[in-house]
Symmetry: C2
Subunit: 190 residues, 2 copies
């Protein structure tokens, strides 16, 4: 179980694998994407994938992170306005099926893979939730969020409903929804 020599790693192979993974997932969906399929597309031996990644999820996560943009939290001083902007943007992003389906599958695949779970937390979810918490702390200082509210719970009140509707597809996922949710969240926090 010795680890490979990273200095000799072929960057051509690495890039080809990530590109092939992104393509395959976009084309077939996450579940029907296989390591063998990625290797074939990339013109790469299977072992070259297994040498550097432990699982399909890890490869796909790397491919996703490579083309990801971070969530930016504005701080205009008006929590409700900022919240509306961010929730609208989040809803719009999640409503885009092409990437969205992959993220959904990845998120649920985490359930059977602790290492993948940790990666997703560290590299995707964590930063987003931390940024939100910081914005709420700022709002708490200006009195727009009541004292004594547990901000970890508050963050979930903001994003939990979105994830719920996004994963379960119970109701339409549009701007009106983002605004309705904004209104309720602000009432909960003030």
């Amino acid at each position: 179980m010795r680890s490979p020599d990273a200095s000799r790693r072929s960057d051509r192979a690495r890039t080809a694998i990530l590109t092939a993974a992104a393509e395959a997932v976009a084309e077939l969906g996450y579940a029907k994407t296989s390591i063998e399929g990625i290797a074939g597309r990339a013109g790469v031996g299977k072992q070259t994938i297994y040498r550097w990644w432990p699982s399909k999820g890890a490869v796909v996560l790397d491919a996703l992170v490579a083309e990801q943009v971070d969530l930016e939290w504005p701080d205009s001083g008006d929590l409700e306005a900022d919240l509306r902007l961010v929730l609208r943007a989040t809803v719009a992003e999640f409503a885009d099926e092409s990437q969205s389906a992959t993220l959904r599958a990845l998120m649920l695949d985490m359930q059977n893979d602790a290492a993948l779970s940790e990666q997703v937390h560290t590299r995707m979810l964590g930063p987003q939730l931390a940024a939100t918490k910081r914005r709420l702390e700022s709002a708490q200082r200006t009195g727009q969020v009541a004292e004594g509210i547990d901000l970890d719970v508050a963050v979930e009140v903001v994003f939990g409903p979105i994830y719920h509707r996004w994963i379960l597809r119970t109701h339409p996922f549009d701007e009106a929804y983002a605004d309705a949710l904004t209104a309720l969240a602000v009432r909960a926090l003030r």
Copy 2:
């Protein structure tokens, strides 16, 4: 593609399959449970499973529904008290790993299987969410939930955070959490 004659269906086989499925999932986890494994355990031909169920998810869902208890919504007239009771119970139920892991995995499978998705909605999620909505309607009539609030969004504000924390395992999942969430939800709705 003609459908089999349900009147001649063997109830012994049906029960054995559902029992075996529940056992296998409890023992191996959903991902490692296979149709072949269920058939072997149940002492049943694979074809007997494929004759009556379209997928592993469908079998497991049937097995789950068979031993499920419905969420009962009290209506004491005090929304906050009722909400606290229900959220505590929900958190306790979801915190139990044995069944919880299966439900999580089932949700994973929903993403790639529209028929299964519809079944889960109709037979598990739908009734729960509808019951919650009815309780909120009642609270709206007594003035404990403000007029003009979209109750579909309100239901998600109640359960969304729970699902968020349950799936992402970001923070502890205990009674204190249920109570903190109750408090925030009541503020959002009144």
